[in-house]
Structure formats: structure tokens, C-alpha cells
């Protein structure tokens, strides 16, 4: 029902022939572009660059933690590495990558000619490199980059140097970019769908992004206000978070996590959308339970706003609060379960084939579920008291963010690369990249569960001797995981430059609108809206 559009109903012959693609050439094409495909490409390359940079920081972290004792970095540098790894991965790599997908895919999937506000779209993107410069430039100011953890808790944050202010402004800029991008996405989805594409006929990816965009608009201003209060406490003599002046350091945590938990869903809902696109394609069967998928996504997004304090069970809140936030958090398992069951039912009695995107999708479902289970374990207040701020939490959020979000992005890239470039990627290299990533990921992050259970705190540059063995294994896994991503870069570049001709629809099970267009699609597509029956 949702995505079955008879291919023959959509005519695509007369694109581009009578409309010359007049746009600046050379590098000005990218600076001036208002084209959703160009901007999508910019977003994706930016996020890939940031992914490699923040990944390199992770390699340095793992080099230091390879053995007990201090080998390469003093603790103040180490804290900068962990902090910037987290901030850049979240705001520089994962979020922009999904916006890149949204730019490329939403107009193509709903039969729209472009995004609703093309100039705003250009600005949304070009703010990001500025924010990136502020963040990375912070490494070079006196005192080095921000080292207070990506959560920026005061009063520690108040003690920092100029890079802390640079981080605040970077977050403001990225927040503006995200909010403008979200307004664009919501307007596009609500107003520019092809005739006949009702909301309940939209592809699941478009649905998840619609909901994500609402989450972004609700959550980003909250973060902006939190960091603005930090700025005022630092420079303008206010005491929002300073107990000596009548403030409350824990209030910051409440405000931050009121943003922070929806933020987690901002990074995972579009990934769910990608999975819900890939799995039906390679199962050659429509998505099972489309309606309940939509409802589950809405429920997840709503729950996101009432569970924030589960990130702070150890701050000493009243027992009633602990109980409320625990029960609410446990409820998340229900809609998440619905999603996993639906994907499994989609594969059931399908005709499954295992191209690289499908391998990634299956791995994501399994590994994300492990992250979901460890999330349930962490929801249990007494157990969380033991595990809060340990490597167990590090394992948990990497199972959700790396094997959930980042590996969905990789799967999505392989899935749509033939459409975007007109070439098939090298299937053999894609599979090697998949297996290296999947295995190295587990070698890296699974032992972290054990480290956390055994009592190793996170964010420490050096550790007691009983943690030495697993840390060494973790580091070795991390180096392989990091190196594997260079193969990903190579495979993508190879696909852009050469490869078998993809044709309109290289995946026989793909049913969404973009596959009715040539590959690569013309610069201006769907100038005449297709009619969905």
C-alpha cells in the first residue's frame, strides 16, 4: 500500500531536454547551489569528512587506552579528544549525513521538483562548515579544545578557556542550520507531494524525516538556551548554574537532556526510515505493518520528551522522579519492539537477497536491538546506578549510534549510490567493507559492556590493571574499524568515477518514485509532478 507505485504510471521521458540546466560551473556551482541534489551531495561529503576527522580522534583515544599508564597524551589533551570526538560525530557527522539523505531523497520520493525553500537550503548547509571551523579551530587556541565532555556540564564547563566559547557559538550556528533545514523539510513534505500521494502513502523514510524535523524544531532551541545560559554564567555574571549565586548545576542537566534525549531519536528515526526502505526492497515484499510503523514512530517521538532524566539517575532526585522516568523509559521498548518485529515480518516469506545495503540493514536490526536491550538494562534505576558513567554506557550508545545510525547511513549510501551516480558500486568491495565493519565494530564495542560491568568509568585517560586485557582488544578492534572506513571512501569514489551502468532501477524490489527516474536523475527532476494512483 505505502510504496507500491506502478512504474508505468510515471512518465519521465521529457526531463531536462527543454530546460537547460543553467547553473554556475566549477566550485561556484557548489557555493551558489540551490539544487537539492547538489546540496544533498555537499551535506554528505561534509559529514563524511567530519566522520573521518572525529574517527581519527577516536583512534588517538584508543591508542592512549591501549595500555594502562600515560603513553601519548596528557590527561588534558585526552579530555579534549573524547569531548571533540563526541561533539563532532553527533553534530558534524551523523546529523548532517541524514540531512544529506533528506535533501537527495525527499523530493525524489514524493515527486517534488526541489525543496520548498532552495535558498534557505543553501544557507542551512553553508553555516555548517563555519561551525566545523570553530570546533576544529578550538584545538589551536590557548588551553586547547573544549574538554568538559560533549554534555558540557557546569560548573566544570565554566572553568574552561576561549575554546569553550567557540563551542557555544558553533552549537548556536549548527542549531540555526538544523532548524532552518527542518522547516524546509516539513514544508516540502506537507506541501509538495505529488498529486495522489496522501500522507499514509508516503514512503517510510519520508515519514521518519517528517517526525525527526518536528523533533529538531522542538529540541534545538532548548540546547541553544542551555548553552546561552552557560555563556552568560561564564561572562556576564549570572548564576543560572552556580549554587553560590543561587543557581543549580543540576538544572543545566535537566535542560540539556530535555534536548539530549530527543536528539538521540533525531539520530535514529531517519535510520529506521532507511531500514524500512532497504529491507522491503531486498525481501521483494512490501513493508509489513506500515500503519503501525508510522504510529510507533510518533509514539517514540512523543516518549522522547518525557524520559530525559534517565540520563541523570545519580544526581539525587526524589524517588518518585526516579520511578516515573524509569517506567516511561521502559515503555520505549514497546514501540521499538514493534519496529523490530515488523522488519522481521517483512523478511518472513520474502525472497531475500544479500546485496551490501541489505547486509548492512540486517546487521543494523540485530546490533541496534542489542543497543536497545542494553538501554533497557540502563533504564532499571538500581542497575543504572552501577553502570552510569561507565564503559557500559559507552558500549550502549555506540551500539545505538554506530551500528544503529552510522551503519544505516552506510547501507543507505550503497542503496542509493547507483541512483545518485548512475554507476553500480563494486559489490565485492562493498561486502568486504561490510564484513570488516561489522566484525571490527563488535570486537571494539562488545567488550566495553564487560569493562563497564566490571567498574571502569568512562572519560578516563588511564585505568586500573584489571581492565587491561579488554582495553587492548577494544583498541585493536577500533584500529581495524577505523581503517575499514578508508575502504568505504575508496569504494564510493570508485563508484562515482566508474562502474557498471545502473539503469533506472537496479534493485528489482525497489518500488519508490526515485527509481522511475534515470540514474543519475536529471539536474531538475519531476518538473511535472507524477500522478500517484
Amino acid at each position: 500500500m505505502a510504496t507500491t507505485i506502478p512504474i508505468q504510471d510515471v512518465h519521465n521521458e521529457h526531463h531536462a531536454d527543454n530546460h537547460p540546466d543553467h547553473h554556475p560551473t566549477g566550485w561556484m556551482r557548489w557555493v551558489m547551489s540551490t539544487n537539492h541534489k547538489d546540496i544533498g551531495t555537499l551535506y554528505l561529503w561534509f559529514s563524511f569528512g567530519m566522520f573521518l576527522f572525529a574517527g581519527a580522534l577516536a583512534m588517538l583515544i584508543r591508542a592512549e587506552l591501549f595500555q594502562p599508564g600515560l603513553q601519548f597524551f596528557q590527561p588534558n589533551v585526552f579530555n579534549q579528544l573524547t569531548t571533540m570526538h563526541g561533539l563532532i560525530m553527533i553534530f558534524g557527522a551523523i546529523m548532517p549525513a541524514f540531512v544529506g539523505f533528506a535533501n537527495w531523497q525527499i523530493p525524489l520520493m514524493i515527486g517534488a521538483p526541489d525543496m520548498a525553500f532552495p535558498r534557505l537550503n543553501n544557507w542551512s548547509f553553508w553555516l555548517l562548515p563555519m561551525a566545523g571551523l570553530l570546533l576544529i579551530g578550538a584545538f589551536f587556541v590557548p588551553g586547547g579544545a573544549m574538554a568538559g565532555g560533549w554534555t558540557m556540564y557546569p560548573p566544570l564547563f565554566i572553568q574552561g578557556g576561549p575554546s569553550y566559547d567557540m563551542t557555544i557559538f558553533a552549537i548556536h550556528i549548527m542549531g540555526i542550520s538544523s532548524i532552518m533545514g527542518s522547516i524546509n523539510i516539513i514544508t516540502t513534505i506537507l506541501n509538495m507531494r505529488a498529486p495522489g500521494m496522501t500522507l499514509m502513502k508516503m514512503p517510510m523514510f519520508v515519514w521518519t524525516w517528517l517526525i525527526t524535523a518536528f523533533l529538531l524544531i522542538s529540541a534545538m532551541p532548548v540546547l541553544a538556551s542551555a548553552v546561552t545560559m552557560l555563556l552568560m554564567d561564564r561572562h556576564f555574571g549570572t548564576s543560572f548554574f552556580n549554587a553560590a549565586g543561587g543557581g543549580d548545576p543540576v538544572m543545566y542537566q535537566h535542560i540539556f537532556w530535555f534536548f539530549g534525549h530527543p536528539e538521540v531519536y533525531i539520530m535514529i528515526l531517519p535510520a529506521f526510515g532507511i531500514l524500512s526502505t532497504i529491507i522491503p526492497t531486498f525481501s521483494r515484499k512490501p513493508l509489513f505493518g506500515y500503519r503501525s510503523m508510522v504510529y510507533a514512530t510518533v509514539v517514540l517521538a512523543s516518549l522522547a520528551f518525557i524520559v530525559w532524566a534517565h540520563h541523570m539517575f545519580t544526581v539525587g532526585m526524589p524517588i518518585a522522579s526516579q520511578l516515573f522516568f524509569m517506567y516511561a523509559t521502559m515503555l520505549i521498548a514497546v514501540p521499538t519492539g514493534v519496529k523490530v518485529f515488523n522488519w522481521t515480518a517483512t523478511m518472513w516469506k520474502g525472497s531475500i537477497s544479500f546485496e551490501t545495503p541489505m547486509l548492512f540493514a540486517i546487521a543494523v536490526v540485530c546490533l541496534f536491538t542489542i543497543g536497545g536491550f542494553s538501554g533497557l538494562v540502563l533504564a532499571i534505576v538500581p542497575v543504572d546506578i552501577q553502570l552510569q558513567d561507565t564503559y557500559y554506557v559507552v558500549a550502549h550508545f555506540h551500539y545505538v549510534l554506530f551500528s544503529g545510525a552510522a551503519m544505516s547511513i552506510m547501507g543507505g549510501i550503497y542503496y542509493w549510490l547507483p541512483k545518485w551516480t548512475g554507476h553500480m558500486y563494486d559489490e565485492r568491495l562493498g561486502k568486504i567493507h561490510f564484513w570488516l565493519t561489522a566484525i571490527a565494530f563488535n570486537v571494539t564495542f562488545f567488550p566495553m559492556h564487560f569493562l563497564g560491568l566490571a567498574g571502569m568509568p568512562r572519560r578516563i585517560p588511564d585505568y586500573a590493571l584489571q581492565f587491561a586485557n579488554f582495553n587492548m582488544i577494544v583498541s585493536l578492534g577500533a584500529f581495524v574499524l577505523g581503517a575499514s572506513q578508508l575502504l568505504f571512501l575508496y569504494t564510493v569514489i570508485k563508484c562515482i568515477r566508474s562502474g557498471a551502468v545502473a539503469g533506472n532501477r537496479p534493485w528489482e524490489g525497489a518500488e519508490t518514485l526515485e527509481w522511475t527516474l534515470p540514474s543519475p536523475p536529471p539536474y531538475h527532476s519531476f518538473e511535472t509532478a507524477p500522478v500517484i494512483k
Partner: protein, 401 residues
């Protein structure tokens, strides 16, 4: 250069991967509980892990069957179904029931954990960057607990001992079988007091006091760490608790009171320069060297040197307060007046990592460490500060130790 070093390390590490070093272990679960609450948490975690494991096997068992049997390569044709309302309702309700089943024992444990009433004794725990302070309420006993691992072990110059980074000079001592309540607070940033084997982790937050409790049944040494990022030395802030039988505890308490009386007497005397310097060096090593370094050279951009003429560049937020106190000029450290020196050590510098030591160190300690700093590493002021000067200053600013 960096790559080469790393590579050498990797090669050296290989034998260790095959044959585990003596002290290392492969623990897979929570530490063996030493308190009733920790035991409950341990059992709760096992139960929930088991439930998750069973669900995982069932769901992915089904998926595995589909992946094997419903493959295109074995000629399976896709069956075009996409809804089943009954099934969807069932798999929404069953997880909900399982969750209610989990919530019940958990709620019980939470009430036990939070039941801090009727303690046998109370210890106030204060987090400082990066030292724990323990105060035995009603006993007049108060002391600091510093990391005792030598810097040479951290820098890989000598072999690491078995309790590397989890050892302190003065552990918290508690009697076995008694309900101990801890009150937690902090003076600078948020810390978190954590002993895994007790099942206690509670954030210590400046301006607020929170509570937790534990009972230890067996004598022994129990180790933990600060669990909330609290700055540069966050990884070097261990918690060590020694549980002893009640009789030994009483004896320890008596000894502790005697030690405190000695320290108070020491602050009433007058000392020679050599005596002050030699005691000052000890104080400097435990309380100051972690930031300002044993060489007095600090860390560029982060912790200022203490040596006259040493260059130091940092953010204005850091150099301004040092300059106004007369300790920094034109990118260099100068040795300012001793009154200001006393002020900085006793009251700290707000907005920087420099803590106030007035509440942590005795008059003798403060007098000695400042004398040491002003007459070491090429600083030759000849200035002497006597404990009595510190005591006078304490009275005038109303801050008693």
C-alpha cells in the same frame, strides 16, 4: 614518529594478548557484591539480562529461519502479505506485560536503596578537584584521601603495583555490620562517589547535599573511583573504603583523633626555614604537584608554572586573575607578594581550576607549602611564613579549619 611508536607498541602487545599479564582479568559481570543492596542489584541485572537474552533468541531465531529458508537464491517466492492486526496487537501487549514484570522487583530495590533512615553513623564526603575529603560527623575526625600511586608508575617508568590508580594514602574506614550513611557534596565541580561492590554511586554537587547508605558485612578493602568527569585529574580520584570489625574501628577512631591533635599542635609552633621547606615539599607533592608538576613548571596553557620568570601563555580568563594578584606580567610568571600568595592558596581563584585549600590543609601545611614554593626551583625570596600568620588570616576572613 607517532605511527612508529604505536606500531612498536602493537607488536610488543601481541604476546600479552595470548598470555594475559598477571594482574589482568577477563571479568564479564558486575563485581562481587559486598552489601545487601549490591547483591539485589546483581540479581536484578542477571534477571533482566536473561529476559533480554531469551527475547533476542526468539526474535532473531525467527529472522534467522527467514534468512536461511526464504532466500531468493534457494528459489523462494515472496508472499505478498503486509498486515496482520491480531499479530500486531499481540506483539505490542506481550512486551508490555514483560516490562511490568520487570518493574515490580526493580521498584522494591529502589525503595531499599533510597532508605537512608536510622543510620548507625554518618560520614560527610566532600569532592574537591581531585581529592575526596571524609568527615566523621559527631566525632570531630576529618581528613583528605589522596591518590597514592606514584607519578613514575603513571609515566611507565617503573612497574605498576596491583592496585594501580585504586590506592590512597588515607582510606575511609568503616565498621562492619553497621548502617553507614554518607552525605555527599562538592566544593568546585560535580564529582561522583562510587564503590561498585556497595552498589553506591551518588553525584557530589556543589551547593547541595545528597545522601546514600551501605552496610558491609565482611572486613576488607573496597575500591572505586570518581564517576563524573571533573576535569584534568578525573581519572586519578580513587575511592578506597576499609571495613574493619567494630573494635578495630573504635581504636582507629582514637588514633585518628590523636593524629588530628598532633597536627593542631604542629600548627601552634614556630619553625625554621629548613623545617618549613621539608614539610612543604611533602604537602606540595600530595596537593599541588598533580597540576603544577613536581618541577614547578605547570602545564602550558592550563596550569601556570610557579617559577619566577617562567613563560606562561593562556586565556585571559586565566592570566587576568593572576596578573591582578601580581603573579604574571607580559607573558611571564613573577613572584608576587606573599600576602597574595597566601590568599591564592587559601581561597583559590574562582572560575579557574585553582581550589581553595583553607578547608583542606592545616595552618602548618599552608605555611610550609608556601615557604617551599617561594624558596625552591630557583625562587630565592628567603620568605618564611609561620603557621601563626595563617591562623591570623583565617580569623580575619572568618574561615576556620
Amino acid at each position: 614518529m607517532f605511527g612508529k611508536k604505536l606500531w612498536r607498541q602493537l607488536v610488543c602487545a601481541l604476546p600479552f594478548l595470548l598470555a594475559a599479564p598477571l594482574h589482568a582479568e577477563y571479568r564479564l559481570n558486575l563485581q562481587t557484591p559486598a552489601s545487601p543492596v549490591a547483591q539485589q542489584i546483581y540479581d536484578l541485572h542477571n534477571l533482566i539480562l536473561l529476559v533480554c537474552f531469551v527475547i533476542f533468541i526468539i526474535v532473531f531465531g525467527v529472522m534467522f529461519v527467514a534468512l536461511v529458508k526464504h532466500r531468493k537464491s534457494v528459489g523462494h517466492q515472496a508472499v505478498q502479505f503486509h498486515e496482520n492486526t491480531k499479530l500486531e496487537i499481540v506483539w505490542t501487549i506481550i512486551p508490555f506485560i514483560i516490562l511490568v514484570g520487570m518493574a515490580y522487583p526493580t521498584t522494591k530495590t529502589i525503595f531499599d536503596m533510597r532508605n537512608t533512615g536510622h543510620p548507625d553513623m554518618t560520614i560527610k564526603v566532600t569532592g574537591h578537584q581531585w581529592i575526596w575529603e571524609y568527615e566523621y560527623m559527631g566525632e570531630g575526625v576529618r581528613f583528605l584521601s589522596n591518590l597514592s600511586t606514584p607519578q613514575d608508575q603513571i609515566d611507565n617508568k617503573v612497574e605498576k603495583d596491583p592496585h594501580y590508580l585504586l590506592e590512597v594514602d588515607n582510606p575511609m574506614v568503616v565498621p562492619t555490620g553497621k548502617k553507614v550513611r554518607v552525605l555527599l557534596t562538592a566544593t568546585d565541580v560535580i564529582h561522583s562517589w562510587w564503590v561498585p561492590t556497595f552498589g553506591v554511586k551518588q553525584d557530589a554537587i556543589p551547593g547541595f547535599i545528597h545522601e546514600a547508605w551501605f552496610t558491609v558485612d565482611n572486613p576488607g578493602t573496597y575500591r572505586g573511583q570518581c564517576a563524573e568527569l571533573c576535569g584534568v585529574r578525573h581519572g586519578y580520584m580513587p575511592v578506597v573504603v576499609e571495613a574493619v570489625d567494630p573494635a578495630s574501628y573504635t581504636a582507629w577512631l582514637t588514633r585518628q583523633k590523636a593524629t588530628m591533635a598532633e597536627a593542631a599542635a604542629a600548627s601552634a609552633k614556630t619553625y625554621t626555614l629548613a623545617e618549613l621547606k621539608s614539610h612543604g615539599e611533602k604537602v606540595f607533592t600530595t596537593s599541588c604537584a598533580m597540576c603544577h608538576q613536581a618541577t614547578g613548571q605547570g602545564v602550558p596553557g592550563t596550569f601556570p608554572p610557579l617559577v619566577e620568570g617562567a613563560p606562561f601563555a593562556a586565556a585571559k580568563g586565566m592570566t587576568d586573575p593572576i596578573e591582578t594578584r601580581g603573579f604574571w606580567k607580559d607573558g611571564k610568571i613573577v613572584l608576587g607578594p606573599k600576602e597574595k600568595h597566601l590568599d591564592i592558596v587559601m581561597h583559590g581563584i574562582t572560575g579557574t581550576a585553582m581550589p581553595a585549600f583553607a578547608g583542606q590543609l592545616s595552618d602548618f601545611d599552608i605555611a610550609a607549602v608556601i615557604t617551599f614554593e617561594r624558596n625552591n626551583w630557583g625562587n630565592h625570596t628567603g620568605d618564611m611564613i609561620q603557621p601563626s600568620e595563617v591562623a591570623t588570616l583565617r580569623k580575619s576572613t572568618g574561615k576556620s579549619s
